[in-house]
């Protein structure tokens, strides 16, 4: 074959085709090699002590969560791996990957490791340099050999399940076989046992976690053949509610006062869930729209009365009862939108009951003090805090962002002005001022006797900030909905709310998904700012806790580089999956 791609030919065509091209090759190679050498020099400088990271891994991940209670962290991680494995199977991400492509990636990584080994400066420990060469050599030789030996390598594909098993197996092999040493921090002094594999209190849980991941993946794949739709709904519900469950029930371990719960909390929740569900079921019958509106208006007045009474001090009432009344009023006002036959009404009532159960349980769990004995108040810190905050901010700002974007694109001038003002002001100021504002001013804004924890205040501010950006992203989606859709829904006789909920929003959300994923990435990155306003997230620990430990005085660079790496791994994988999602959406759009 004359057009066969030989490496020499490729190099000649791509790197040295002309004088300018050769010059580019040389200049860029020198720059990239120089930068790589500089970066490796920063990582392995003589005064850098990577034991500061190895010893403080637990601190970086979960801050000062009590050691005896660590099983809770593992259980939470197990819940996460469980959900991830099932979701992989249910949504069938990337069913196949080309074998040739996989090999190319491996060889590329191998080459990179070899180059790192070559350019790394003399301060690098010899074991690191040797392992760079070893890994690089194995990957390059293995990859090339596999490409030659396996017949018809270009046509083969590797299934996702096999890849998952391979990666998990490799990770476990590394954990069980490589002598990283046992690093621990006992009574303020580091204790290192070199030349052995890491402590079994670490490697056992990880093994179980990966086993959970792989087994749920295969189990999920088997189940999803039959009940994919129900599994999807259950998983979405778990992704929305599960983290709260894990956080407040497993990690925080609230000291429930069961007698009070049975005598006060459960009756209230049951009354609202069942009573409200019944009211909704009755009102949602077609032809009772006007009755529902009247009842809704009365309920709004009733709910407002409680708030006014609360401020004026006429009579006492639990806050969650007030909130539930407001929610019920809104739900009744929305009833005409979802009215329909028995099935629709049952779904409506069921949704309400679910909302009430989750809400009342959450309020109870948040208001109950924790049994964990922790020296510094927030019970979470480190990477756990980073992920938690990012997750909840996205979750909580979503409904708010939808409302703001709807108000901004509505025809009603006051709503439009209010929403535009809010969005533009928030987008005009930096996040850090918003966070400072809320952490300092929110306690001042509250009536006397009411308090809010620092983290909750910061979280509130971050949610409002994120909602403004969310609104802006959704606005693009809303504006992309064609005018004909409105005309068609008017022709069908839908109300404005029905049109918005059933016609406009679904289409707008679909268009906005890539932007929303971009915002999720930005939110995750900007969570690092809570380090400035007092949260003990992974950055704060690396920047100020570790360098103040007597054994690692001033050791900033290793920990910070590690933090950068952690963020990079999360963000890069998110952005890669966002790209493939975007391609999927593009392909799915039929025009």
């Amino acid at each position: 074959m004359s057009t066969r791609n030989t490496p020499v030919r490729w190099v000649r065509e791509n790197l040295f085709s002309s004088v300018g091209n050769s010059a580019q090759t040389v200049v860029f190679s020198l720059i990239i090699l120089g930068l790589l050498r500089w970066l490796l020099g920063q990582a392995f400088a003589e005064e850098s002590n990577w034991e500061s990271v190895a010893t403080n891994l637990r601190l970086l991940m979960a801050y000062n969560y009590p050691t005896g209670q660590f099983v809770r962290i593992w259980v939470s991680a197990g819940a996460l791996f469980f959900a991830v494995g099932l979701s992989f199977a249910t949504w069938n991400v990337r069913p196949m990957i080309g074998f040739r492509r996989l090999l190319t990636t491996l060889v590329g990584f191998g080459c990179f490791a070899l180059i790192c080994g070559l350019v790394t400066p003399g301060t690098t420990p010899s074991v690191v340099r040797t392992s760079m060469f070893a890994i690089g050599g194995v990957l390059v030789v293995g990859g090339l050999a596999a490409g030659r030996l396996v017949p018809r390598a270009g046509e083969r594909n590797v299934g996702f399940g096999r890849l998952l098993v391979a990666v998990s197996g490799l990770a476990m092999a590394v954990v069980w076989l490589v002598p990283f040493g046992k690093h621990s921090f006992i009574d303020g002094a580091i204790a290192v046992e070199r030349g052995v594999t890491i402590a079994s209190s670490t490697k056992m849980p990880w093994t179980v976690l990966f086993a959970v991941l792989v087994s749920t993946f295969f189990a999920g794949r088997a189940i999803a053949v039959r009940i994919r739709k129900q599994l999807k709904i259950a998983l979405i519900a778990w992704w929305v509610v599960g983290p709260a469950f894990v956080l407040f029930l497993v990690l925080r371990d609230p000291a429930f006062d069961w007698s009070r719960i049975w005598s006060v909390d459960v009756p209230i929740a049951a009354a609202f869930a069942l009573g409200g569900g019944a009211v909704l079921y009755v009102l949602a019958r077609p032809g009772r729209e006007d009755l529902a509106r009247v009842v809704g208006a009365l309920l709004v007045g009733f709910a407002l009365l409680h708030w006014v009474a609360g401020f004026a001090g006429w009579y006492g009432m639990l806050q969650k009862v007030r909130i539930s009344f407001v929610l019920l009023a809104i739900a009744v006002l929305l009833v005409p939108t979802f009215a329909g036959e028995r099935r629709a009404r049952l779904r409506l009532s069921g949704g309400w009951i679910g909302l009430m159960v989750v809400l009342h349980w959450l309020i109870t769990a948040i208001n109950t003090p924790s049994t964990l004995v922790i020296s510094a108040p927030p019970f979470i810190g480190g990477l756990v805090l980073t992920i938690t905050i990012a997750y909840y901010v996205m979750l909580a700002s979503f409904p708010l962002g939808v409302l703001l974007s709807l108000a901004r694109t509505s025809k009603l001038p006051i709503f439009r002005v209010l929403s535009t003002g809010f969005v533009e002001v928030v987008r005009g100021v930096p996040l850090i001022t918003v966070l400072f504002f809320f952490s300092i001013m929110l306690p001042l804004f509250l009536p006397r006797g009411m308090g809010i924890s620092d983290l909750a205040a910061v979280f509130t501010g971050y949610t409002l900030f994120s909602a403004a950006y969310m609104a802006e992203n959704l606005r693009g989606g809303l504006q992309s909905v064609r005018r004909g859709q409105f005309d068609a829904s008017d022709a069908l006789g839908l109300t404005t709310v029905q049109r918005t909920v059933f016609i406009t929003l679904p289409q707008a959300l679909r268009v906005a998904i890539p932007n929303l994923v971009g915002q999720a990435i930005a939110t995750f990155k900007e969570t690092s700012l809570i380090a400035i306003v007092g949260g003990f997230d992974i950055l704060r620990i690396a920047n100020s806790t570790i360098p103040n430990q007597p054994d690692f005085l001033g050791q900033k660079r290793p920990a910070l580089l590690f933090v950068a790496l952690v963020y990079f791994v999360f963000t890069y994988s998110m952005s890669k999956s966002a790209q493939s999602l975007e391609k999927k959406l593009e392909a799915g759009r039929v025009r």
Partner: protein
């Protein structure tokens, strides 16, 4: 029922007004006004709470603390310490913080753009190494939070050598040490404002001359040397205003008299003027609205919605006038004072009538292990400035590179092929055909990145760089005036974002394709 009676009953239906509880216009406006009222009430409630909570701690809310002495030092900036001849008040400290923010933001925008354009263009290069290297650059930098990068830069810069008199790659000229980086600098000397005003004055004349020249060019044709004559005149104007700027010192007196004139405006006049402005704007809006409802057959019948709109506009105007007149007289006095101070500052900028050099230059100077402070030394980046600057520049340049790449990809490939067919080299095609077209696509997101960079300067607080947020924090830690300081933050950053977005919009309008 026949079809005719059905039609008449329908017509009658549309004539009849619905009862008020089914009138959608009324319902919509009621809900809107209720929401507006709720929002305002919530704000009012929160502000009163904050006021009462603050006054319970003995902290009055307001801006009376502007002239209090700042009992702290600033890390760096145009003024860092209090001295008898130049007091460092609280407001002055905030001003220094703002100047520092501008120092980082403007330099950062320039360098981030340069690097970003280079990287973005080489991401589309035909050369494999260039393409790969720049995509690695982009992915590495944009996937690590900027705060981590800034703090990492501080850790890296803090680990290089200590500052001694013979530190640096080029001793005495370029100094790189753990205290910062210093190079020689050119700075504005005393005569700069005289120079600038004279040059602007001469430029007006040059502009007229140029207009005549252009007219002649169009009348006569041929080469009338418009460009070269203009250049020569500009050079001459520069030379003249460099050496003979002494006469412009008379502006000092002009501004001083403007200062006293502005300060002597009675407050009532400003109040009434502002109230009249509010009412006038309201009246204009009403008039414009009525005009839009005018049809050839006279004024159209106003709908309920129109009446509500008119009523709302009138209400807002009256409330604004009332606020200016009765509730908030401080606004008027603030306008008077700040206008007076503005002219006072301007008059201070002009010298005493001697022609002085507008620009001057200096090498880095050291004093016992640290750089001499801003103003009497070379161009020094303290290590705090440098870490913030590097973090901002590299992080933002990765995003700018993506913007540039997207813009270039948005240019149809036919343009590049056509340029190649005409015999342009790749560089020429890029410079003359592709980039000018890509610029239109690039400009709006680029402006967004500039805005992000400006907002991200606030992360200087993490490394102790004295920008506005850090100084503001020091101020409210001293005097607990959080509400006031936060309002200053908000106004400052909103002003920045408005400025940047209006510049971007202006450029965009200029660049827009003129469509026939």
């Amino acid at each position: 029922m026949t079809s005719t009676t059905h039609a008449t009953s329908l017509a009658a239906d549309s004539q009849r007004r619905p009862p008020f509880w089914r009138n959608t216009t009324l319902i919509k406006w009621t809900v809107q006004v209720a929401v507006l009222f709720t929002v305002l009430a919530a704000f009012w409630f929160l502000i009163t709470q904050a006021r009462s909570n603050l006054s319970a701690r003995g902290i009055p809310v307001g801006y009376d603390w502007f002239d209090d002495p700042a009992n702290f030092q600033l890390g760096e900036g145009i003024q860092t310490v209090d001295s008898p001849e130049r007091r460092l008040t609280m407001s002055r400290a905030l001003w220094v913080g703002m100047a520092n923010t501008f120092r980082v933001a403007i330099a950062g925008i320039i360098f981030a753009t340069i690097i970003g354009v280079i990287v973005g263009v080489s991401r589309l290069s035909k050369n494999y190494v260039a393409r790969r290297a720049s995509s690695v650059y982009v992915e590495m930098l944009r996937n690590v939070p900027i705060l981590v990068q800034i703090i990492l830069w501080l850790a890296i810069l803090g680990s290089i050598g200590a500052l001694t008199p013979d530190t640096g790659p080029i001793k005495g000229w370029v100094i790189v040490s753990q205290k910062g980086i210093s190079i020689p600098r050119v700075f504005l000397a005393d005569g700069f404002y005289q120079f600038l005003s004279l040059f602007l004055l001469l430029s007006v004349g040059i502009w007229f001359v140029r207009r005549r020249l252009v007219a002649r060019q169009e009348r006569l044709g041929g080469n009338q040397h418009v460009g070269s004559i203009t250049t020569a005149l500009v050079v001459a104007a520069l030379v003249v205003s460099w050496f003979a700027n002494a006469p412009m010192a008379f502006l000092r007196g002009v501004f001083a008299s403007l200062e006293s004139a502005w300060g002597s405006i009675p407050q009532v006049v400003v109040q009434v003027g502002l109230a009249a402005l509010a009412v006038g704007v309201g009246a204009l809006r009403v008039r414009a609205f009525l005009q839009s409802r005018r049809t050839p057959a006279g004024l159209a019948k106003l709908t309920d919605d129109d009446w509500f709109r008119l009523l709302f506009i009138a209400l807002v105007a009256i409330v604004a006038a009332f606020i200016v007149l009765r509730v908030w007289p401080g606004l008027s006095s603030w306008l008077i004072n700040s206008g007076r101070d503005f002219f006072g500052v301007l008059s201070d900028k002009f010298g005493d009538g001697r022609g002085t050099r507008p620009l001057d230059a200096m090498r880095p100077t050291l004093s016992t292990g640290r750089f001499v402070n801003y103003g009497t030394t070379g161009l020094t980046m303290t290590v705090f400035y440098a870490s913030l600057f590097f973090g901002l520049v590299f992080y933002t340049s990765a995003f700018i590179a993506e913007v540039v790449r997207g813009g270039i990809l948005a240019v149809p490939t036919g343009q590049g092929e056509a340029a190649a067919a005409l015999g342009l080299s790749r560089g020429q095609a890029l410079r003359k055909v592709i980039l000018p077209q890509a610029f239109r696509v690039i400009m709006p997101p680029l402006g967004n990145q500039y805005l992000n960079l400006t907002k991200n300067t606030s992360l200087g607080i993490a490394v102790g760089f004295s920008e506005i947020v850090q100084v503001g924090q020091t101020v409210y830690n001293k005097n607990s005036q959080t509400l006031a300081v936060f309002s200053i933050y908000m106004m400052f950053f909103l002003a920045c974002s408005l400025t940047i977005s209006s510049i971007v919009n202006y450029i965009n309008r200029r660049l827009a394709i003129v469509e026939r």
